[in-house]
């Protein structure tokens, strides 16, 4: 098995430097893009996060056993999210997300303003709904809310592409219904 297809967590047994390069190429690049695009992190902070993540992975991965590359990817992602959390904790003035929903909400009929209190209630409702969701439903909600096309989502979820829109609308209705009950 060559390096390009071998599981990443096996590579370090061969050579530490290759391991670092492969981890960066397989995961670091994507995390860098993700940090900037999804979390509005500036470039320097994004590089710092990637450095810390890969450094930590290299340092501690031997203490763990991974069943698959997917588990290893989750492990890297978890470390990255921990550093991201610390980043926001240390830079409280930075805004990680905004509740400026202008795309598909008619503001003229919107009764609830997005005060921190209503956002918290929305989060509570979303948490309740998420807890009851199946994995594929969570994935659908996650990917669609990120703006991914249904054709792309269909490659990760074992459901017919033409049904995904219906499923997504149902999930949104479910959340909205819960919200209406609460607010």
């Amino acid at each position: 098995m060559n390096k390009s297809t071998q599981e990443t967590y096996h590579l370090a047994e061969l050579d530490r430097n290759s391991f670092i390069t492969v981890v960066y190429n397989r995961y670091g690049k994507k995390l860098y893009s993700y940090a900037i695009k999804s979390w509005n992190v500036n470039e320097d902070a994004a590089w710092d996060l990637i450095y810390k993540t890969i450094y930590k992975v290299t340092e501690v991965y031997r203490n763990y056993k991974f069943e698959s590359e997917e588990k290893f990817a989750s492990f890297i992602f978890k470390i990255f999210i921990n550093y991201l959390r610390n980043h926001y904790r240390d830079n409280k003035t930075e805004r990680m997300f905004e509740f400026t929903a202008m795309d598909d909400v008619d503001l003229s009929t919107k009764k609830i303003s997005d005060t921190p209190e209503s956002s918290n209630k929305k989060l509570i409702v979303l948490n309740e709904v998420l807890d009851k969701m199946e994995d594929w439903e969570r994935m659908l909600l996650l990917m669609r809310s990120e703006g991914r096309a249904y054709s792309e989502i269909a490659t990760y979820i074992d459901k017919p592409e033409n049904q995904l829109k219906v499923y997504y609308q149902r999930l949104k209705e479910q959340i909205t219904k819960k919200l209406n009950e609460r607010l």
Partner: protein, 119 residues
Amino acid sequence: MSDYNNISDSEIRSLLKKRLLEQADDNLLEAEAKMVFASEALIVPSTAKEEELIKKLTKTKFKLTFKKWILPSASVITILSVLTYYTFNKTNLQTASTIKNKLFQRNRAIKNFQMTNWS
């Protein structure tokens, strides 16, 4: 009724991100990881910065080795050396003191003997 309090895609996304950061939801984390790593990076980082990062990461090998092996070994060696030095010194001092005492006693005995004989 559904027109009221309708939740938008971006709001759902924001709430999911908030949950991701604030709560230890492994299922959400795994799903997010799958989504992030499955697609190609949308922003291409500069090659110079990439090289700088790799260099910085591979350079830390000595730091790691130093932290893991050299520093503990040096500490152990230093502690052992100090202990050996003091133990050895103490033994030497005790030996020297015993010899000194014996010599002193012998000298005194000789002196006493001489005094007795002369008198």
